[in-house]
């Protein structure tokens, strides 16, 4: 106990004395600025509204132009002219084509054997997506990746998340990455056998399905239950990123989360447990 008290005294001395003069006034002023920002936002909201109308008008015009162009193209292409489908993508198509479509990595000029011709518009070209290094494609065609979610919001009635992908490494890969980062020496092992590599700060925004399945592993309200992966609702999940999250979930906005998406639509979200 004496040792504990001595350590307390040492840490107390090292952490120094606290000067709180003017601090509370500064806190109140900052809070006022943020509240005032909200109150005074009506004018800027009106401007935003006008901008929105302008952009929407342009978007409607472009959409109409594309529609007319497409209809004209359909009329033209439907007259028995062949359609040539050429792609130089090498990744696996995310959506199976309704008809076989051959892909080739050869330049366009050498694709004489690697093309498909059809006589109608029913041919569907493939849409291939280059995956991030933090993503993997699952057997069911879904794409899975882990990262740190910085925004969860609803816009225009649709749900969205913004995620900063990271790589979850274990074993030798984790050790190698930690050595490369200079956090451990060669021959040492990372604590708890995992390492999260997050070199790319790029954020990606995905729409979230209305029927998304979400689970958490460290929400303390489930601490009585030793099992992992507790299902939670979208509203609970969204509250983690609110200004005043639940007191027992304050850490969850900073946890790493796995997302699984079907195309651009997120269908599953799971918290990654960190020891």
């Amino acid at each position: 106990m004496t040792e504990d008290r001595e350590l307390e005294q040492t840490l107390d001395r090292l952490s120094g004395s606290v000067d709180r003069s003017g601090v509370w006034a500064s806190i109140e002023a900052q809070a006022d600025v943020r509240t005032g920002g909200r109150k005074g936002a009506s004018a800027s909201r009106r401007m935003s509204g006008l901008r929105f109308v302008a952009f929407a008008s342009i978007a409607v015009f472009l959409l109409a132009a594309i529609t007319v162009g497409s209809l004209e193209a359909a009329k033209h292409l439907g007259n028995g002219h062949p359609i040539l489908v050429i792609t130089d993508q090498t990744t696996v198509p995310s959506t199976p084509a309704t008809h076989p479509v051959t892909t080739t990595t050869q330049p366009v000029t050498t694709t004489t054997e690697a093309v498909t011709t059809t006589t109608g518009l029913e041919e569907t070209s493939t849409t291939t997506e280059k995956l991030s290094t933090a993503e993997t494609r699952l057997a069911n065609g879904h794409i899975k990746g882990m990262g740190f979610i910085d925004k969860v919001y609803v816009k225009g009635g649709k749900r969205y998340i913004s995620i900063d992908y990271a790589e979850y490494l274990t074993g030798a890969a984790a050790d190698a990455a930690a050595v490369a980062a200079g956090e451990i020496k060669p021959g040492e092992h990372v604590p708890d056998d995992f390492w999260i590599q997050n070199d790319n700060p790029q954020k990606r925004v995905f729409e979230v399905s209305d029927s998304v399945a979400i689970t958490t592993s460290t929400w303390t309200r489930f601490a009585w239950d030793k099992t992992m992966d507790h299902p939670i609702t979208w509203a609970q999940f969204k509250s983690f990123w609110s200004a005043t999250p639940p007191a027992d979930a304050i850490h969850l906005h900073g946890s790493p989360w796995w997302i699984e998406r079907d195309g651009q639509l997120v269908v599953r979200i799971d918290e990654q447990f960190l020891p």
Partner: protein
Amino acid sequence: MGCSVRADVKPFSKTGSVTSLNDWPIGESGLGMSTRYARPEDVFEHEYDRLVKALTIVAGDREEASDAVQEAFVRLVLGWDRLATYEDPAGWVRRVALNQIRDHHRSIGRQARLLLRIEEQYRSPQGASATDEGIWERLMRLPLKQRTALALHYVDKLTAREVAAVMHVSEGTVRQHLHRALQTLRESHEGSGQVITP
């Protein structure tokens, strides 16, 4: 979740009298008392100094700790209507401030953080004695989790159970963090021949 990796709590091997956490009565801490605050400034009045001191040890930097605690108090003021109903608004402030520090550390790239850490290790408090500078360096070399447990327990005066609740780990894990931290401090003390208390 198929990808969950749970390195569950390892058994705590208590050796000697490295720490006497069991002797600490729960009522001594702020969380245990669950003080009712009428206004956010009351929370500030009672908790600010202790939080800044504890988080200075965690962050290794007084300015960063002050910023994190002040930002947490700004959010407390903004959300007071709701937060006033919480059982422990001070605990909420503590977690928000700790998250700020954790996010700050995470946002810095690994390489940059390494450089900063090297610098931080030698940025000891102003006016510190040579002995204190040595202890400070060793403290800053401790892993963040161990340092957090140490600061919350010995400076913020939380019990191991309360530290566990704040850090979202088991009580056994907290004891393990404290045990390892104290052991490291002791070993480096024995190696250096300097006078160090733990």
